[in-house]
């Protein structure tokens, strides 16, 4: 045992303080990352002036962010709906008539589960891939090369990804909502003996358009978070292949955390303040 290893241990403290230090460090890192992301978002919005020239780039990103995520979204949505049906039936049993099963599924899917779970699975996939792609471009000097030929990487790489994610996340979420409700219905129908009529009647009973709208608004915000956090982590990459791996991890962690936090904020804002009044 050298003295340096002793001081090293002392500096790290026990498990408890070590944990807090790690949490503190991560929180600080997240705050820095969010600051950089805000700046990037601002620069991307300035780049919108040249949106016309970027349309093909946006379309390409819409395919990669939206269409290519569909298999994952289908599986997530169908099983989410099915589980919701089973859980709702179990929790409502004895107290609540079966007619409310439809509305329970519909509400939890459109308001919360559809947008959030879709954003989390698509976010994991998309923000990691954006960060790895831009990160690789950064460490192989492709971003520098772009800058050097007077092509703004924010306009060429970042803005199309953000716009595409803002458009595609709500669309993919609509898709997920429909599939999840269908999944829920199938389970309700086959194993819980709820007829089509009862299910649909129940849904109609408390159908508010703003439930769906609120959910899609969430999806829109989540889309922005996913793309901007992926781009931020990617552009800030340094240190070769290891750095690219780190960037991908950072992007996923940051977008998941921010999705969950903003979900809470949006839920309060939308369903208490805005729609709550109505």
């Amino acid at each position: 045992m050298t003295s340096s290893s002793v001081t090293a241990r002392r500096n790290h403290g026990g498990f408890g303080t070590g944990l807090f230090r790690t949490l503190g460090g991560n929180a600080l890192e997240l705050v820095t990352e969010v600051g950089a992301a805000g700046l990037l978002l601002w620069r991307s919005s300035l780049a919108l002036r040249k949106f016309g020239r970027s349309v093909p780039l946006v379309v390409e990103q819409m395919r990669r962010i939206g269409v290519d995520s569909l298999p994952l979204v289908i599986i997530t949505a169908v099983f989410t709906g099915a589980v919701t049906a089973v859980q709702a039936a179990y929790q409502l049993k004895e107290f609540v008539p079966k007619i409310y099963l439809g509305v329970a599924i519909y509400k939890s899917v459109t308001i919360e589960l559809g947008p959030v779970l879709t954003a989390l699975v698509v976010g994991g996939r998309v923000s990691a891939s954006i960060a790895a792609e831009l990160g690789t471009m950064r460490v192989t000097e492709q971003i520098d090369a772009m800058d050097a030929m007077a092509i703004d990487p924010v306009r060429y790489l970042v803005m199309p990804r953000i716009v595409a994610a803002l458009i595609m996340l709500p669309i993919v979420t609509i898709f997920a909502d429909v599939l999840a409700i269908s999944g829920g219905f199938v389970v309700a129908n086959l194993s819980l003996d709820v007829s089509v009529k009862t299910f649909v009647e129940g849904m109609k009973l408390y159908f508010f358009p703003h439930d769906v709208l609120g959910g899609l608004l969430k999806a829109f915000v989540f889309g922005g978070i996913i793309a901007v956090m992926g781009c931020t982590a990617g552009l800030r990459t340094f240190g070769g292949a290891v750095g690219v791996g780190r960037a991908a991890t950072r992007a996923v962690v940051a977008s998941c955390v921010l999705i969950l936090i903003s979900d809470y904020v949006l839920a309060t804002l939308l369903f208490k303040v805005i729609f709550g009044e109505a």
Binding site: R53, E133, M137, T140, E141, Q142, D144, A145, M146, D147, A148, M149, A150, I151, D152, Y156
Partner: protein, 265 residues
């Protein structure tokens, strides 16, 4: 040839943490000449080039291009300046998600809105200049190192720049390929009548391509003169640099990699 300074670098200072890489670089590149910057590996040659094109911000000193301090240019002005520059990166830095043709054509598409057959014609013309006609459909991953460098050169000259910056154009190439690249730099130089800055640690390449040579040593310019003066000067740093280069004789090249401490391969 001896015009006024196109690029005038004064007291350029740059540190990364404790690592002081550039410690007061003074260098003037005249209009129309080819200036070669020599120096051992890791002395900050790439960092210097990145400052000239504004990819890095100096900690001190000034870089004046055509009478304008580039560190104080607004983003738009810097873009306009960069459009008249071409840079060949050390690692080629080709966009690996695009074909060779798309790489070379990107500046044309983005800045001149060139499309269709006109674009194909110009891309083919640039590729032909670097001896790679008919490769537009290939992907960067399908190219050899030397081909990548040449594509990077074709991309750098796509907009017919007034200034071309080369970062180690011949490093890692076999002698035949290196010779081809050297000649390419010369001929591009003549065809476009451009000002060039070539960064290298290859003495032969320096003498062949350069009008004037500067030697970087310990973060400063230790010597500046014509290629002829380089071989006759009594300058200590130059003599040491050349002596180190001599130690690597043909045949020793692959034999003993421990000799590459100075990165002379």
């Amino acid at each position: 040839m001896a015009g006024q300074a196109l690029i005038d670098i004064r007291g350029l200072f740059k540190a990364f943490g404790d690592n002081e890489v550039l410690r007061g670089i003074d260098l003037a590149v005249r209009n129309g000449e080819t200036m070669v910057v020599l120096g051992p590996s890791g002395c900050g040659k790439s960092v210097l080039l990145k400052h000239i094109i504004g990819l890095m911000k100096p900690d001190g000193g000034s870089i004046v291009v055509e009478g304008r301090e580039i560190t104080r240019l607004a983003r738009g002005e810097l873009s306009n300046l960069r459009m008249r520059f071409g840079m060949v990166f050390q690692g080629a830095a080709l966009f690996d998600s695009m074909t060779v043709g798309a790489n070379v054509g990107l500046p044309l598409v983005e800045h001149h809105r060139t499309r269709g057959s006109e674009l194909d014609r110009l891309v083919e013309e640039k590729l032909e200049m670097v001896g790679l006609s008919g490769t537009a459909h290939l992907w960067p991953s399908e190219l050899s190192g030397g081909m990548k460098k040449r594509v990077a050169l074709a991309r750098a000259i796509a907009l017919d720049p007034d200034v071309i910056l080369y970062d180690e154009p011949t490093t890692g190439l076999d002698p035949v390929m290196a010779e081809q690249i050297n000649e390419l730099i010369r001929s591009t130089q003549k065809k476009l009548n451009a000002t060039s800055v070539v960064v290298t640690h290859d003495l032969h390449s320096a003498c062949f391509t350069g009008d004037r040579v500067a030697l970087m040593d310990d973060g400063r310019i230790a010597f500046e003169g014509t290629t002829d003066e380089l071989t006759t000067t009594e300058n200590e740093a130059v003599r040491t640099f050349i002596a180190r280069g001599r130690r690597r004789l043909p045949g020793e090249r692959e034999a003993d990699s421990s000799r590459d401490r100075f990165g002379l391969l």
